[in-house]
């Protein structure tokens, strides 16, 4: 089981929950986001731009590590992993 934790600020819930659970034991972050997009197209649209890139001020963590310091969207999620979607500390 892999869990995707979405921020409330995203304003998108899946079945009334901010957590999406994927019945998979091993997948990349890119695959997990594709699965999220099938469940909730608006959620994916707000995380990824037309070029398939993570938006500049969105941070994705596999458990406690930012994917920027792993292998980006090719980072691996293992059974029991959580993919955290977080808004960066940016603004003005």
């Amino acid at each position: 089981m892999i869990t995707i934790e979405l921020p409330r600020a995203l304003g998108v819930q899946v079945n009334g929950d901010n957590a999406v659970r994927l019945d998979s034991g091993d997948m990349t972050v890119k695959d997990a986001l594709a699965e999220l997009g099938r469940i909730s197209p608006p959620a994916l649209d707000r995380l990824i731009n037309e070029r398939g890139e993570v938006r500049q001020h969105v941070n994705l963590f596999v458990d406690d590590e930012n994917i920027r310091f792993l292998e980006g969207l090719d980072s691996r999620l293992q059974d029991g992993s959580t993919l955290f979607v977080l808004a960066a500390i940016s603004g003005g």
Partner: protein, 373 residues
């Protein structure tokens, strides 16, 4: 035909005000003395473009709301903001093979009068999108998207933005757009080909001061009754063209600075234009710390300062490119918003001004509509 304030009993004047932290809607009866504020809509999101479309029996307001985190979305409301659409997917999207990604929507405007379901929007990175279904779906105008000069277009401080769209009421195949900093381009064949139209417009920041393209045009306006006459506020320079942009003449006659962003056309008078000059691109505040709107009534031969009710000391204000607008009543209402969050309005064509709101977030867009009640 002129709109008469008296004849507009039963109508309402609406100001659509975009800020860095959301959109506000102000409403007044045609006297335009007392305004009722609603909002903010899209709290925390910048709203650089608003547009009200009353064609085709619609009463639809468009708002380009951009979240720094989650990206930009074009929202619509058919009840002036009581409810807004929440699209599943961003409707203004670059095709995957373009290699581009939407940064911001800078302008939404109506298409040719004969095509009431057509709208255009200008975006950053610079591109023009067209809708033929009243804004439900959008596709890029390929002739501009794949323009051979695109690789040499350079962004200004606001990004590489297509911020001005002008249609020709006499010819649905003709359209003029402006990009910072690529300059003015015109199509005469419905968007298939685009020719730069910048002859006479100075590019102070380039070695060649009069290049074919690359100018940092800030705003262009015209009057629908005389569409070939264009007025242009440049990044340094104030110009007029009488031939649809084939050539431009300097009309900075008597203004304290020919630098500025905002420019608005009088709704009835073909030779009357409003601007708000700013002191230099290094300072970008009102000259001499006086907040002055300038008006020409003779197509730029002369300009007069409009100061009634505006602060004339210690006023270090900035008015951005889409923050000056007129309404369609007679006498015309004129409105502008500042980066310091002040919204001013005049119900007598600019002779006297009142502060409508003084403590808004930084204002980046002011648009008007006169609607039936």
């Amino acid at each position: 035909m002129k709109d008469s304030g008296a004849a507009k009993n039963g109508s309402e004047v609406v100001l659509l005000v975009g800020t860095m932290k959301g959109a506000f809607v102000f409403r007044s009866d045609p006297s335009r003395k007392n305004w009722r504020m609603e909002g903010p809509h899209f709290r925390g999101e910048s709203v650089y473009s608003l547009f009200h479309d009353a064609r085709g029996g619609r009463n639809r307001t468009f708002a380009a709301a951009t979240s720094m985190i989650w990206g930009g979305t074009l929202r619509t409301s058919d009840d002036f903001g009581n409810t807004w659409s929440e699209p599943d997917q961003h409707s203004v999207r670059f095709p995957e093979d373009s290699g581009l990604a939407l940064a911001q929507i800078w302008q939404v405007t109506a298409g040719h009068p004969s095509e009431p379901d057509v709208l255009y929007c200008g975006v950053e990175p610079a591109a023009l999108f067209k809708s033929t279904d009243a804004g439900d779906s959008w596709t890029p105008v390929e002739g501009l998207l794949k323009h051979e000069q695109r690789p040499r277009w350079q962004p200004g401080a606001g990004g590489l933005c297509l911020h001005t769209i002008i249609t020709d009421p006499k010819d649905s195949n003709r359209m003029l757009i402006a990009i910072s900093a690529a300059g003015v381009y015109r199509t005469d064949d419905g968007g298939h080909t685009w020719i730069p139209r910048n002859v006479g417009v100075r590019a102070e920041f380039l070695p060649d001061k009069y290049p074919e393209f690359g100018q940092c045009v800030h705003k262009v306006v015209h009057h629908p009754a005389r569409p070939e006459r264009l007025f242009l506020q440049n990044h340094w320079g104030l110009y007029r063209s009488d031939d649809w942009g084939e050539s431009w003449q300097d009309i900075a006659n008597g203004v304290p600075s020919d630098f500025g962003f905002a420019m608005a056309m009088h709704p009835q008078q073909q030779d009357t234009v409003y601007i708000v000059p700013l002191e230099s691109d290094m300072f970008r505040c009102t000259p001499e710390a006086k907040l002055r709107v300038y008006r020409t009534t003779d197509a730029g031969q002369t300009w007069e300062a409009l100061t009634g009710g505006l602060p004339q000391s210690d006023a270090y204000e900035t008015v951005l490119r889409d923050c000056l607008a007129t309404d369609s009543l007679d006498a015309a209402g004129v409105y502008f918003g500042t980066r310091s969050g002040k919204l001013f309005g005049s119900s007598d064509e600019g002779s006297t001004w009142n502060e409508i709101a003084g403590n808004l977030p930084p204002i980046v867009c002011v648009k008007t509509a006169v609607v039936a009640t």
